[in-house]
Amino acid sequence: MTGEATGLNTSGNRPLESTMAELKTAQRALQTLSQREIAKSLAKLATLWREDSRWYREALLLARNSFGEQLCRLAVAALEENLSFTRLCGTMTLELGSLNALERWQQLGPECTGHVVKAYPLGVVCQILPGNNFLAGPMAIIQCLLSKNALLLKPSQQEQGFLELFYRSMHEAELDPRLLAAVRVHAWGRSDQHETQTVQKLADAIVVWGGSAAVSAFPQHLCKGKVVYYGPRLGIGLIASACATWEAALALAWDICLWEQRACSSPRLIFVREDEGQCARAFSKLLDDALVVMKQQIKPPPTDLEQSCQILTPRELSCWQDDAELITGAAESAHTVIWTKNPPDELGVGHRLVYIIPYASDAELLSKLRPYSAMLQTVLLSAKPSQWAGLVDGLANLGVTQVISLGNGLPGRLGYPHEGEYPMRQLIKLVAVNLQAGPFMHPSAGNPNGPSVVDAMVNSRSILVECERQSHD
C-alpha cells in the first residue's frame, strides 16, 4: 500500500496474494451456511445501526464534511431497513429466484420435467468502490455475502471512514465468523500496479464502480474472471408538459443536492417541455430559488480553491453564448443553473450544476438525448399519468435503465435493479442440468439398445432427488 491509498486495510502489511488465498478458503467455508442463516446473521447489524445508536452518531459525524447530515440520516435509515431479516430474505427471493437458490436444484417449471437449475457463487469477488456513495461498501458486503461470495473491497480515495465504521460494526455485532472471514478491505492507489494486477489475476469477479479511470484499470481482457462495470453514467431530469411548478422545482432541487451531483443517478441535464411560452426559462428561475431553499436542508460541503474553480468555466461560457443564460445570479451561490437551448458539449461532475434545456415534442427530446444514449442511466421524471408509459418506453429504447419520480431520489435500496439487472444476479452463475432423454435415446430414433424416454424420466427424477438430498446434507 502506498501513501496515496487511503482507508482501512484489514490485511495489515501482508501481501494481497495471501489475502486472496485466505478469501478463497473463507469462501469455501461460507458454503456451509444456508442463505437463511447468512441473512439471520447479517440482520444482527440492523440493531446496531438504529437511529441514535453509537454507530449512527459516528456516521453522522463522518458525513458532516462530505454529504451533509440530512443525507446521512436518510442513508443510515435506509441501511437499517436494508439489514432487516425480512428485507434480506425478500431481496434474495427477488434477485436470486428463491431463498435457497444457492442450495437446492430447482425444477425449471412444471412443463420442463427433467430440467433443473441451481445458482453457484462466483467465488472471490473484488469490488472497486466509488467515492460518491458511502452506502456502496455496506451494500457490496451484503450482496456478496448473501450470494455466498467472499469479498475484497478496494475503498475509494475519497472514502471518509464510513466503510471502516461499518466493518467494525460487523465485528461488534458478532456476526458468524464465517461471514467475518469472508470480507477483507485492502486499499491501494492507482499507481500500485502490482495490487491491480493481483486482483486482475486472482479475483473470480470484479465489480467496478466509478469513473473512466477506475473502469480502464480493469479491462475484461486482462482479468481472469467476469468484470461488471457500474459507471460512469449520466442522469437527467425530465419535466414533461405543465409540470414546471414550484413543487416540481423543489422536488428536483432535492434530487440535485442529494448526492451533490456526483452519483450516476444525479440529474444534471434537465429537459423541460415547452408547449407555449418560455416555460423552461421560467422553470430555471424557479429551480434556482428552490436550490437556495434546499441549501438550508442539505448543506453543501465546504469547497476548496480547486473545487470552486471547477464551476467557473461553465458559468463563464454561458455568458459568451447567444443561446444560453446564467440564471444563478448570486455570485456566492453553492449551485449553478444555466438555461441553454442545446445540451452542453462538456459537463463536469458535482457542484450542483444543472443545465435546463427546452424541448417542444417527444421526438425533439429523444433527438437531443440520442448523443448521450451510450451513457444514459437514470431519469428523474415529472409527467402526467397519461404520459408516463409512452415516455418510459421511448427512454428505455434509448438506453435509460431507471426512471424515478421527481423528488424521490433516495439512498440505495436493496433489491432494486441497477443498470438493467439485479446486482446479486451479477454475482452468481446459474447451472442448468437437462436430464431428459435425447432423440437418439429412444428406440424409435434408431437406438434399439438405448433407454426409453420413460426410463430417462425415471432416472432424471431419481437424480433430482439425489441432488436435493446432497444439497440438504
Binding site: E332, V349, A374
Partner: protein, 372 residues
C-alpha cells in the same frame, strides 16, 4: 469604432507607459481613464465581448475578468479592419494553446511593459550579449519568443542576440554552436544576459558539467532571467526553483541577486519580475487580485487565490482583465523597498475533477458523433 476613440486610447496608453514602473499612487486617474478607453476600443472591436461584459455586470473601474480556460473554448474573430501585426500563441501546457492577435499598438505595449520593468530593476544597464534559451521568433510564435526578441532588439547596448533552442522532431534541443559562442564570450569577458526556460538552462549547465566544466564564471554585469514552468516542464524533469538558483549561482559564480525569475502569461501583456527577495512585483500599469472563486471576491492578503490581472495595455483582443489558473498569494510592503504590491506563485490549478460514476462529458459525446 470612431477613429478618435482609438487615438485617445493610444495616447493614454503611451502616457501610462511613460511613468515609473513601480509606484504607489493613492488614486490613479490615468490608469482608470486608460482602462475605460481601452474597454471602449475592445467593445467596438468585439461585440461578443460587449455582450459578455453586459451579462457579467461591468462598471466604471471594474472590468469582469475573462477566465482563461474559457478563452480557449471560444474563438473570437478579430475585426477585418484591424491590422494584425503578429499572432502569438500560448504554450498549451494547461490545455489547448490559445492564439492571440496583436495589432501594432498592443505589440508596442507588450514590449514597453517589459522594458519599463527591466529598467526599474536595473537589469540591462551596460552592454552585453543576450543568449535566449528558447526558439527565435522566426521559428516560434509563442509569446516569449516574439516579445522578448523585440525587447532585446530595442536595446542598442545588446550587441548580439542568440536563440539556443531548435526544433528536433517533436521536441526542443540545444544548438551547441551557440553554447560554444556563449563560452567564448564569457572567456573574453563580455557580460551576458541568459534568458529563457529554466529547464533548457538546466540542460545546458548539466551538459557542460558532464563535459568536465565545473564552473563558468560570468563577467560582472551578467544576469540570468528565467521564465516558464518550474515543475514538470519537460517530460521527466522537475525543477525546484531554490535548488536551481543555488546551482546556477555556484556554476556561473554569480550573485544570487543576478538570477531572477519572470512570471507572465501569454494572454497578458504584463511581465512580473522577481525582486532580490523572490517576490514578483506588480507594475503600476496593471492591477492584480488573488481572486477566491468560492467567495467571488479578492482573497485577503496572505491567502491563496487565482491570479487576476487587469491592465489597459491590450486592445487587439479582450485581455484587458483576465483570470488565470495560477494560484498566488498577494502581499504589500515588500522588504526590498519597491513600492506597490507583490505576489508569490503557489502553483497551478489541477484541472482533474473528482471523478465518480457520474460521467464527465466531452470525449464520449465526440464518439457519439455529435458535432462539437
Amino acid at each position: 469604432m470612431a477613429k478618435n476613440s482609438f487615438e485617445r486610447y493610444q495616447s493614454l496608453a503611451r502616457e501610462l507607459m511613460m511613468r515609473e514602473a513601480f509606484m504607489n499612487p493613492l488614486s490613479d486617474e490615468l490608469f482608470e481613464t486608460a482602462l475605460h478607453a481601452c474597454l471602449e476600443v475592445l467593445k467596438a472591436r468585439y461585440p461578443e465581448y460587449e455582450r459578455f461584459l453586459g451579462r457579467k455586470g461591468s462598471r466604471f473601474g471594474f472590468v469582469p475578468p475573462v477566465f482563461l480556460p474559457t478563452l480557449k473554448k471560444i474563438r473570437l474573430e478579430p475585426p477585418s479592419n484591424m491590422a494584425v501585426a503578429e499572432t502569438i500563441t500560448s504554450s498549451g501546457t494547461s490545455g489547448k494553446p490559445c492564439a492571440i492577435p496583436l495589432d501594432d499598438l498592443s505589440l508596442e505595449m507588450r514590449v514597453a511593459a517589459v522594458q519599463r520593468v527591466y529598467e526599474a530593476m536595473g537589469i540591462i544597464a551596460g552592454s552585453c550579449h543576450a543568449y535566449c534559451f528558447m526558439q527565435g521568433p522566426q521559428h516560434s510564435k509563442m509569446a516569449g519568443s516574439v516579445v522578448f526578441a523585440r525587447v532585446l532588439q530595442s536595446y542598442p547596448q545588446i550587441a548580439r542576440i542568440s536563440f539556443l533552442a531548435k526544433q528536433k522532431e517533436n521536441s526542443l534541443t540545444v544548438n551547441h554552436d551557440k553554447v560554444s559562442d556563449l563560452i567564448s564570450d564569457v572567456q573574453r569577458g563580455i557580460p551576458v544576459l541568459l534568458l529563457g526556460y529554466p529547464a533548457m538552462i538546466w540542460a545546458v549547465v548539466s551538459g557542460l558539467k558532464l563535459q568536465g566544466l565545473t564552473k563558468l564564471a560570468l563577467p560582472a554585469g551578467s544576469f540570468v532571467l528565467t521564465g516558464g514552468g518550474w515543475k514538470s516542464f519537460l517530460p521527466g524533469l522537475t525543477l525546484e526553483q531554490e535548488i536551481f538558483n543555488k546551482a546556477l549561482s555556484d556554476f556561473f559564480v554569480l550573485e544570487p541577486s543576478h538570477i531572477r525569475d519572470m512570471f507572465g502569461l501569454s494572454e497578458s501583456p504584463v511581465v512580473f519580475l522577481a525582486c532580490e527577495r523572490g517576490a514578483y512585483h506588480v507594475p503600476a500599469f496593471c492591477r492584480i487580485r488573488a481572486y477566491d472563486p468560492g467567495l467571488q471576491k479578492a482573497a485577503p492578503y496572505g491567502q491563496s487565490g487565482l491570479l487576476e490581472i487587469t491592465s489597459p495595455l491590450s486592445c487587439s483582443y479582450p485581455l484587458i482583465s483576465v483570470l488565470s489558473t495560477d494560484k498566488i498569494v498577494h502581499g504589500s510592503h515588500c522588504p526590498c523597498g519597491l513600492p506597490g504590491s507583490f505576489f508569490f506563485p503557489r502553483g497551478r490549478l489541477h484541472s482533474t475533477d473528482f471523478e465518480t460514476c457520474a460521467m464527465r462529458i466531452e470525449r464520449q459525446v465526440d464518439e457519439a458523433g455529435r458535432s462539437i
